[in-house]
């Protein structure tokens, strides 16, 4: 019989016929030829004659094959697989790599066929991978756009920001004289310049617009190294003469000046003064404020003469610089340390404790944000790992069911590596399809992600799925395939062929697979604990902040920035009169109960100075004087903001107008009272700034202020920084051009916005109103990053919990299925259903306990690493870790309930019959 089979196989062209059908065809024809042969033998023919007679039954093999194809078209293989075979042949003939590729192609096709037979399994795995990889891809795209993308100048890593700092740390702006000395004495920087952001009002074409600009020295453009798209930048001459010239950003040129190609040479009005436009920067040149990375600088003008303050301790301006070729940041820092020490020796009164901090511009802008996004990325990575655990569990079972097939392959000569390659091809295929699903999910989710991000997140609009993001998705998919495919593949190819054949499909294989699944379930629980603990800590921090006493009443309060610039408002009295009149008008609006103005809103501090207390000696180091936040107020600001009065009285009109003796009243906060006059009554005490605050008062002695009232603390540096000492002084002490109007309303605050703009416009159309927000929006903005972080980590933790529960459920279901026979026998021998239930639940509890034990260590370690993101909570708070561990235990044990009940339903009689 075998002889005829080979005879037929060698002659009949069946390569384009489906494999199984071809085998049948060959066997049947061989069988018929064998019958003919035997019949001839039985009729007395010799073997040769019988052989010849049989062979004569089929002479034209090609014709036979053609007739069969014609008669039964369904026997033919699909054209794709016929093409693949031809490709295989060609690849194999191309050498070793060709053969490798041909094998890979074969493995992939085989996997496709195998997966088609188990569509549910394939869909579940693809969805799990898609979810895990999708979440990671979306977060990576955010990380890339916000943090990884280099800044848009040549060699951006060479651009640095230089800060003045003290021996105690921190970072702050630089004084003009210090900047000049830094520039002259350093050896590390090719270019150095001052770039000080300043709000300006444009009042040429169209409505007055408040715009963020920057005072710059001409060298700033050399620091960035970008040529203008139109015209030129500021020249050193214009720099030294403070010429009225301006360089526009591309965005400002396009939006306000209609992308006028003839804009160079045009006159525009900045703060009421005429400036000549000399250049427009290119579109990709986007420079942010170093204080707030989401605020973009829209125009550059030379430093006005008045802004070049000669006092060495009047620190107002950030410095940017470009490193020389071959100099590192560390080298530059060491060099600037030398310069700082030189200046400390030369000017001990102002520079004794001053040092320089050198930071890359990228780190200055995005450093904190980068850490935040990395945390979210790590959390997303954990979700992916947990999803891999589910997939690995499913694969372990699947591969264990193929032990016999694997054994046969090994017997036919396939090495372990070859078989593992085949199994990994299946994992790889699933991972790739999952990756494709992930990309689709990510693409769909990116729009939502961009919308969810708060406005202060820089470059959020640039988040997109470009080539590198797709590459990331592919790479992660491959890694995922290895992570979830390797262990099951190793397990499936372990041991001898005989063992595998003996145990294939039997109990031992199932038990080993079940054991692996339980290990994965334990790992999943451990990872989920880490994530859940993190999420709880974040949620706790967020809730603590949300419930915090802010010191003011954020409800029903509208704020708006009003900026008075230009020659009309050069006089401080004029500005004060404007604000007083404006507040009177606004308070008269229906719905407004209190109106006031302040130089800086809560959370937006940064205007502070050293203050002297009457009757106390002034220390030799001015940095030993108390640092006090200073705010100028007009009108009924404190009541408008709902800041509680704790002692004394509010400021009155008499206090807010400077009187003849020069002394005025001031309100201080509780912190200042405790810090400057501990254990005493602060009311009636006097204090003054150590040096004059406004340029116009150079040479004049700062005036004493008398404490007339003490109010509750308001956090100036953000919700998470404790309040520092703060004073509210009459406007004329430091008459700012830009003040924030605050209105307390009895109606919905946003309903009076139009009226506010109208009142300002009626007083002066050239005055810009900007940053109109309710205080609730300000508070929400403060909390927004924490809310986002909490939401994202919480979402990931919830996903992880679902996956882990599915993992426990799956592994216990499998456990019950494998042990169904044994459980049935137990019950037949007298075990009660309750005992069986406990057996399975006990197994679930054991898994959960192991997972929690392993996870606790991980959670504690992770919370130490992320302690910088906590507020008001300790990383190792036992209540939190205990609570989360308990939640996981309960959840995991509950997941065991359904399989446990299924176990009790096993029919003992069936089990005994099988015995």
């Amino acid at each position: 019989m075998r002889e005829w089979r080979r005879y037929v196989r060698d002659r009949l062209p069946v390569s384009d016929i489906k494999a199984q059908r071809a085998l049948d065809l060959v066997d049947e024809l061989a069988s018929q030829l064998e019958d003919v042969y035997r019949t001839e033998l039985s009729h007395g023919a010799s073997e040769r004659e019988a052989d010849a007679k049989a062979r004569a039954h089929i002479e034209d093999w090609d014709r036979l094959a053609a007739e069969i194809r014609l008669a039964a078209p369904s026997l033919r293989r699909p054209s794709a697989s016929r093409w693949a075979d031809r490709a295989d042949e060609r690849a194999r003939s191309a050498g070793r790599w060709g053969a490798w590729l041909a094998d890979l192609g074969m493995d992939v096709r085989y996997s496709l066929r195998a997966l088609r037979r188990k569509p549910t399994f394939a869909v579940v795995v693809v969805l799990l991978v898609g979810l895990g990889v999708g979440v990671n891809t979306a977060v990576f795209s955010a990380l890339k756009a916000i943090y990884l993308e280099p800044l848009p100048f040549p060699e951006p890593q060479a651009v640095a920001v230089l800060w003045e700092t003290t021996t105690r740390g921190g970072r702050g702006p630089v004084s003009w004289p210090n900047y000049r000395d830094w520039k002259a004495q350093n050896r590390s920087f090719e270019h150095m310049g001052l770039m000080s952001e300043v709000g300006v009002t444009l009042s040429d074409s169209g409505a007055a617009e408040a715009v963020l600009g920057a005072w710059v020295t001409s060298s700033v453009f050399d620091v960035f190294g970008v040529r203008p798209a139109l015209g030129r930048t500021i020249t050193p001459d214009e720099d030294s003469t403070s010429a009225r010239v301006a360089v526009l950003s591309h965005e400002l040129w396009a939006t306000r000046y209609g992308a006028d190609p003839l804009v160079v040479g045009r006159q525009i009005r900045i703060n009421g003064d005429s400036y000549d436009v000399v250049g427009v920067m290119p579109e990709r040149f986007v420079v942010s404020s170093v204080w707030r990375a989401s605020s973009r600088i829209r125009l550059w003008v030379p430093f006005p003469a008045g802004a070049r303050e000669p006092q060495r301790d009047s620190r107002s301006h950030p410095v940017v610089a470009r490193l020389r070729d071959g100099v590192t940041l560390e080298g530059a820092a060491a060099d600037m340390e030398r310069v700082a020490r030189n200046l400390a020796a030369a000017y001990p009164e102002t520079n004794r404790t001053q040092r320089v901090r050198v930071q890359s511009l990228h780190a200055a802008l995005f450093g904190d944000l980068g850490t935040l996004v990395s945390l979210v990325f790590a959390a997303a990575g954990l979700v992916l790992l947990i999803a891999c655990g589910n997939v690995a569990g499913l694969l372990v079972v699947r591969f264990s069911g193929r032990r016999a097939e694997i054994a046969v392959r090994s017997a036919l000569g396939a090495g372990r590596g070859r078989v593992m390659r085949m199994l990994l091809a299946e994992s790889g295929l699933l991972a790739l399809v999952g990756g494709a699903v992930a990309v689709l999910l990510a693409l769909g989710g990116l729009g939502a992600l961009r919308g969810l991000l708060p406005a202060w997140v820089p470059r959020a609009a640039d988040i997109r799925a470009d080539g590198s993001v797709l590459l990331f998705a592919v790479a992660i998919s491959f890694l995922t395939a290895i992570v979830f495919g390797l262990a099951p593949a190793l397990g499936a190819t372990r041991g001898s062929q005989t063992e595998a054949l003996k145990e294939a499909g039997g109990e031992r294989a199932g038990l080993r697979a079940g054991g692996a699944r339980q290990v994965f379930a334990v790992a999943q629980i451990a990872l989920t604990l880490v994530l859940a603990h993190l999420a709880c800590l974040q949620a706790g921090s967020y809730l603590l902040l949300r419930g915090m006493d802010l010191g003011f009443d954020a409800e029903n309060t509208l704020t708006a920035a009003v900026t008075l610039r230009g020659s009309a408002y050069r006089d401080a009295d004029r500005r004060q009169a404007f604000f007083h009149e404006l507040l009177a008008r606004l308070e008269a609006l229906p719905g407004v109960t209190h109106a006031g103005a302040v130089s800086g809103l809560p959370f937006e501090g940064g205007n502070n100075g050293r203050f002297v207390v009457e009757g106390r000696a002034i220390p030799s180091d001015p940095n030993d004087l108390p640092l006090v936040e200073r705010k100028s107020v007009v009108g009924d600001y404190l009541r408008a903001m709902g800041i509680r009065l704790l002692a004394g009285r509010m400021l009155t009109a008499a206090d807010t107008f400077r009187n003849a003796s020069g002394a005025g009243g001031a309100i201080i906060n509780e912190r200042m009272a405790q810090q400057l006059w501990p254990g005493e009554v602060a009311l009636g005490k006097r204090f003054r700034p150590n040096s004059p605050e406004s340029v116009t008062e150079v040479g004049a002695a700062p005036e004493w202020l008398t404490v007339v009232g003490v109010v509750a603390d308001v956090r100036q540096w953000g919700m998470e920084q404790p309040a520092i000492a703060e004073s509210y002084r009459p406007y004329m002490i430091a008459p700012q051009q830009r003040m924030f109007v605050a209105l307390r309303t009895a109606v919905e605050p946003t309903s009076i916005v139009a009226a506010v703009r109208r009142e300002v416009g009626e007083m002066d159309r050239g005055v810009a109103v900007s940053a109109v927000r309710t205080m609730q929006e300000v508070v929400a903005s403060e909390l927004s990053w924490r809310k986002l972080l909490t939401s994202l980590v919480g979402l990931f933790a919830a996903l992880a919990l679902i996956l882990a529960v599915a993992g426990v459920y799956g592994s216990l279901s499998y456990f019950v299925a494998q042990r169904a026979h044994e459980l049935g026998v137990r019950m037949a021998l007298g075990a009660r259903r309750g005992q069986v239930l406990l057996l399975v639940m006990g197994r679930g509890a054991k898994l959960a306990l192991w997972g929690v034990a392993l996870g606790t260590g991980g959670a504690l370690a992770a919370s130490q690493v992320t302690r910088g993101f906590l507020y008001g909570l300790r990383p190792a708070d036992p209540w939190f870790i205990g609570g989360v561990a308990t939640l996981l235990l309960v959840t995991a044990v509950s997941a065991a309930l359904v399989p446990a009940r299924r176990a009790t339903k096993v029919d003992p009689a069936l089990a005994l019959r099988a015995e």
């Binding site: 049948d24 066997d27 019958d35 003919v36 019949t39 089929i58 034209d60 014709r63 036979l64 039964a72």
Partner: protein, 110 residues
């Protein structure tokens, strides 16, 4: 003895008739045709097999591998319901055809 065209037109009827009451394998079908026709009708394996393949594709017959005691594995065919209907139609057609030819030529079955 008979032309290929003549044999082609009736081979399906022959095969279906032989499978009407009993399952048979391909060689057995060929042998029975030869025996019952007294040797006038002989089919080679290469002629019979495509017919079996076609009728299986049409759903008239169904093949199964069977291993009987003491014998090797063979592919046995049986008639399906569809095949029964096809057989009945073919028998009726054959009767009508031979009657018509007989009426024209004066040949009749005794």
């Amino acid at each position: 003895m008979f032309s290929a065209e003549l044999k082609k037109g009736s081979v399906e009827l022959l095969v279906l008739s032989l499978l009407q009451h009993e399952r048979r394998h391909g060689y057995e079908i060929g042998k029975l045709v030869e025996q019952r026709s007294g040797g006038s009708l002989k089919f080679r394996v290469s002629s019979l097999y495509p017919v079996l393949a076609r009728m299986e594709e049409q759903g008239w017959i169904c093949g199964r591998w069977v291993e009987k005691q003491g014998d090797r594995r063979r592919r046995y065919y049986r008639l399906t319901r569809e095949g029964e209907r096809a057989l009945a139609l073919k028998q009726e057609t054959w009767r009508a055809y031979t009657l018509a030819v007989g009426q024209v030529t004066g040949i009749s079955h005794a």
